[in-house]
Amino acid sequence: MDVFAFYAFGAVAILASLLVIGQGNPMHSVMLLIVSFGALAGLYVLLDAPFTAVTQIIVYAGAIMVLFLFVVMLLNVPREEPAPPGVSALLGPTGTRLGALLSLLLGVEIVWALADMGIRRPESTASVSSVALIGSAIFLRHAFAFEATSVLILVAMIGAVVLARREHS
C-alpha cells in the first residue's frame, strides 16, 4: 500500500512538474505547480513527517503560490508560443550541445547520489509527537539561526514595502 502510494505521488509530482514548463498557459502552469507541491506533501507523509507535509501545504501551496497566482493574473501574462526557427540562439547547434552536456552532468549526478545512499529509516517516534521534536530542535539547538532568519525576512518585507510604495508627488 505504501509502495503504491509512493509511486502514485511520485508520478503525479513528476508529471505535474514537467507540464509546468512544458505547456504554454501560465495560469495552468501555476496550478500544476500547486499540484506538484501537493504530491510532495503526500511523499512527506509517507516519510513519517506529517508536520512537514502540512507546513508545505500551508506555506508553499497556500501562501506563496497565491502570490504567484495573483501576479500572473494581474500581469495578464500571455500564452507562451514555441519560438519560430532561426530567432533564438538557444536552439542553434551551440545551444543544443550545451544543453546535452548539462543533461549528461545532471544524469551522472543523479546516478551518483542514488548509488551512494545509505538508506536509514528513522526510528519510529510514535510516542512523541514529531511537532514537539521539531519545536525543540528549532528553539533549543538552532535558536540563533531561527532568530537570524526571522530578522532577514523582516528586512525583506520592509524592502518590498519601500520599493512598492508610490511616490507622493
Binding site: I57, A61, A63, V66
Partner: protein, 344 residues
C-alpha cells in the same frame, strides 16, 4: 462471512458515509434555517408551503437548480472554469475529516475495540484544517479569473484577499488554544476540557480565552465570506461576484461549499472553545448529540448576525482585519504565553 472486510474497515467506511451525508444534509438544513430565521427577524413567516413549515424548501431548490441550463461564457478558460467549484467543494468537505464529534464507542459491542467518532485522528489535526482551508481560496480565485469577466475577476480578487487577511488572526487565535492545551490534536484539546470547576462550571476554554473566542469567530465569519463581511458576495446584488457566470449545479456547489465551510468553522470552534462533545446527563455513546447542539448554536449565531448587522464596506473590512483584529490576536497570544509560562 470471511469474504467481508473486517468490522473495523466497515465501521470506518460507515463513518465516512455518515459524515459526508451529515454535511450535505446540514447544508440543506442551513438553507431552510437561514430563510426561516431571516423571515422571523424581519417579522414575516418565510417558506411555509413546501412541506410542514417549509422544511422541504431546500429540496425544492435543489430540484430547480438541477434542471437549470448550465452556461459557460464563450471566452472562459474551460478547464479552470470547470474545476473551480470542485476545488471549493472538495476543500470544504476535506477539512471536516479531522474533526472529532464523539467519544470512543464500540457501536453497541459490535466492534472489538472502541473506535473514536471521527474520520481520522492525526496529531497535527489543527494544522490540517488550516492547510485545507487555505486550499479553498484557490476555488474562488480560479472562479473569478476563469470566467473572463471584469466583475468576476474583481469579486474573486477581493474575496480571496479578504480570506488571506483573516487567515492570520484565525491561526493566531488557534495558536493560543494550542499553547494552553499543549497539543495539536483536536481530540486531545477536547479531552483537556473535561471536568468541572466547583462541580458545575465546565472547564471550557471559552472561559479562559474569551478574547480568543471572539477573534476566532470573527475571523471564521470573514473566512467564510458571511455576515457583516460579505461584501465580495453582496457585490452580486449590486454588481456581480466571483460566481456570476456560474449557473445550476456549479452555483449550487459554491453555496454548498460555503455552508459546509460554516459548519466546519462552527465544529472547530466547539472543539477548541466549547468542549466539543462533552456535556452532562448523556451517556458516552450519545455524546455526539451535545456536539450537534453546540454546533447548531454557533450556526444560529451566524445567521442571526447576518440578518441583524449591516455589512462592512471593503476597505473598512480590510482595515478591520489588519489594523484591529491582527494586533488583538497577537496581544492575546502574548498574554496567553505569559500566563502559561507563569503557571506551568
Amino acid at each position: 462471512m470471511s469474504w467481508l472486510p473486517s468490522p473495523e474497515i466497515i465501521a470506518q467506511l460507515g463513518l465516512i458515509v455518515v459524515v459526508f451525508n451529515m454535511l450535505v444534509l446540514s447544508a440543506a438544513f442551513m438553507v431552510w434555517m437561514e430563510r426561516k430565521v431571516c423571515a422571523y427577524i424581519q417579522d414575516r413567516s418565510g417558506p411555509n408551503r413546501v412541506g410542514f413549515e417549509g422544511v422541504l424548501q431546500p429540496f425544492a431548490d435543489v430540484i430547480k437548480l438541477l434542471f437549470k441550463e448550465q452556461l459557460k461564457p464563450k471566452a472562459a478558460d474551460t478547464i479552470l472554469f470547470a474545476i473551480a467549484p470542485l476545488v471549493s467543494t472538495t476543500a470544504a468537505f476535506a477539512a471536516f475529516s479531522v474533526v472529532p464529534f464523539g467519544t470512543e464507542t464500540t457501536l453497541f459491542g459490535l466492534l472489538d475495540r472502541p473506535i473514536p467518532l471521527e474520520i481520522t485522528d492525526v496529531n497535527v489535526a489543527v494544522l490540517v484544517i488550516f492547510a485545507i482551508t487555505s486550499m479553498g481560496i484557490y476555488g474562488i480565485v480560479l472562479a473569478g479569473w476563469s470566467s473572463n469577466s471584469k466583475y468576476s475577476l474583481l469579486g474573486g480578487l477581493r474575496s480571496s484577499a479578504q480570506m488571506i487577511s483573516y487567515e492570520l488572526s484565525y491561526g493566531l487565535a488557534m495558536a493560543a488554544v494550542i499553547m494552553m492545551a499543549g497539543s495539536l490534536s483536536l481530540r486531545e484539546i477536547v479531552m483537556n476540557q473535561s471536568g468541572y470547576w466547583l462541580g458545575f462550571i465546565p472547564r471550557w476554554y471559552i472561559w479562559l480565552q474569551p478574547l480568543g473566542f471572539f477573534i476566532y469567530l470573527t475571523a471564521g465569519v470573514a473566512e467564510t465570506n458571511r455576515a457583516p463581511f460579505d461584501f465580495p458576495e453582496a457585490e452580486q446584488e449590486l454588481v456581480a461576484g466571483y460566481h456570476t457566470e456560474y449557473s445550476s449545479m456549479s452555483f449550487a456547489m459554491f453555496f454548498l461549499a460555503e455552508y459546509v465551510n460554516m459548519v466546519t468553522v462552527s465544529a472547530v470552534a466547539t472543539s477548541l472553545y466549547l468542549g466539543g462533545w462533552l456535556g452532562p446527563f448523556l451517556p458516552d455513546w450519545l455524546s455526539w448529540i451535545w456536539f450537534l447542539v453546540k454546533v447548531f448554536l454557533i450556526l444560529f449565531f451566524y445567521v442571526w448576525m447576518r440578518w441583524t448587522l449591516p455589512r462592512y464596506r471593503y476597505d473598512q473590512l480590510m482595515e478591520f482585519g489588519w489594523k484591529f483584529l491582527l494586533p488583538i490576536a497577537v496581544l492575546n497570544l502574548f498574554v496567553t504565553a505569559a500566563i502559561v509560562l507563569w503557571v506551568g
